[in-house]
Amino acid sequence: MPDFITAWLDQNDVFTTMTMLEYWNGLVQTVQLVFLSLIIGLLVAVPLAILRTNRRWWVSGPVWVYTYLFRGTPLLIQLYIIYYGLAQIPGIQETFWWSIFREPFYPALLAFTLNTAAYTTEIFRGAIAATPQGEIEAAKAYGMSWFLRLRRIVLPSAARRAVQAYSNEVIFMLHASAIASVVTIVDLTGAARNIYSRFYAPFEAFIGVALIYMALTFLLVFAFRKLENHLLRHQRPAGG
């Protein structure tokens, strides 16, 4: 950071260079956690959503149980079960997994991924189920195999229908990630809590972090609106 900014910041009571760095590190942590869990969650959710729309109950049933459990209970409980529970698995402390899951980041990542995957599965299930029957019939008439039909017809049109609901899920995940601070992760909220206790300045610490979250939220809303416009361009009225 340039010296003149540092000098200027250090005149403040609360928002000193150190505070700003703390917020920045928190931001990096939050973005990593949310981005990774969303990406992995999405990769898990698409195959699960395909299984969930299967007609055979023993295929779709287990997926339904999974989404029902993870959507019906608070994320905080899921985080606690995974964070405290992983350490209790007999023998895990002797394996190499322990060196990963000892860090609070990975149990939190696992909890967030499982949670967002459950919600995303249901979003995609709805979108897949809403595929017009005619499109599938046409694909069959062209002699497309099940996989080709899925790849070329069902998934692309389902993705378009799912964008809007999925953008809500992304914002929900960003906000839900604030609870990572309760398992000692110094994310944005964790940074704000540290700043609060250092200066006993609740308004500066929490309003400051609220503004950062708001900026992130509106950035996401803007990006998704662009994406939606792009994906749904063919549905706009022509000319004009």
Binding site: G72, P74, I77, I81, A192, I207, V209, A210
Partner: protein, 235 residues
Amino acid sequence: MIDLKGYGPQLAEGAVVTIELAFLSLLLALFLGLTGAAAKLSASRVARGIATTYTTIVRGVPDLVMMLLFYYGGQVLVNGISDLLYEHYEIDWFFQFDPFISGVLTIGLIFGAYMAETFRGAFLAVEAGQIEAARAYGFTRWHTFRRVMVPQMLRHALPGIGNNWQVLLKTTALVSIIGLTDMVRVAEEAAKAERSPFLFFIPVAAVYLALTAVTELFIKWLNRRANVGVVQGEG
């Protein structure tokens, strides 16, 4: 009662706290939601501006951050007012800002914003002809609102209220973070002391599932009642 290493009764008390918290927050949210929807639909630009700012801020900020702000900031604010009153007017007034109050205020405020959107949509779904007819019969604005708009709006608002309630119920778990002894807090302390997280967290998760399931049935029943006489298309 299930004993759970002696924590059973404490967990049950915690569950009662969770339920109280959820219902009080719901009441506040419904009140703020109706007020917010009225403001959003009003002719006054100031009212619309305030309501839009409110819902925008709530949608941009995580629930936990808002809760921490209310809990820690609320106490500082109350202390400030208390000092001021004592210095200038010699009034000895003090108020302890506890986690329960902060929880109800925060959750009520957050879901009030979501409810406002739900109610706004529901009010817009009431046919304009109904309102015109009521006015033609000489109903006052208040009467039109209470006798014509609200009963017809509820039918459209119920599914949205139901969804918001399900999310609200799960959000109550966050209040354990600022120190409220709800069932999540009891389970966390017990899990740490007894080193058996599954034994305590899984029953708590089951209680949340049961609460959502029971209230879902209730909302379905309400929905059926609110839709009596409405002919629905075959889907």
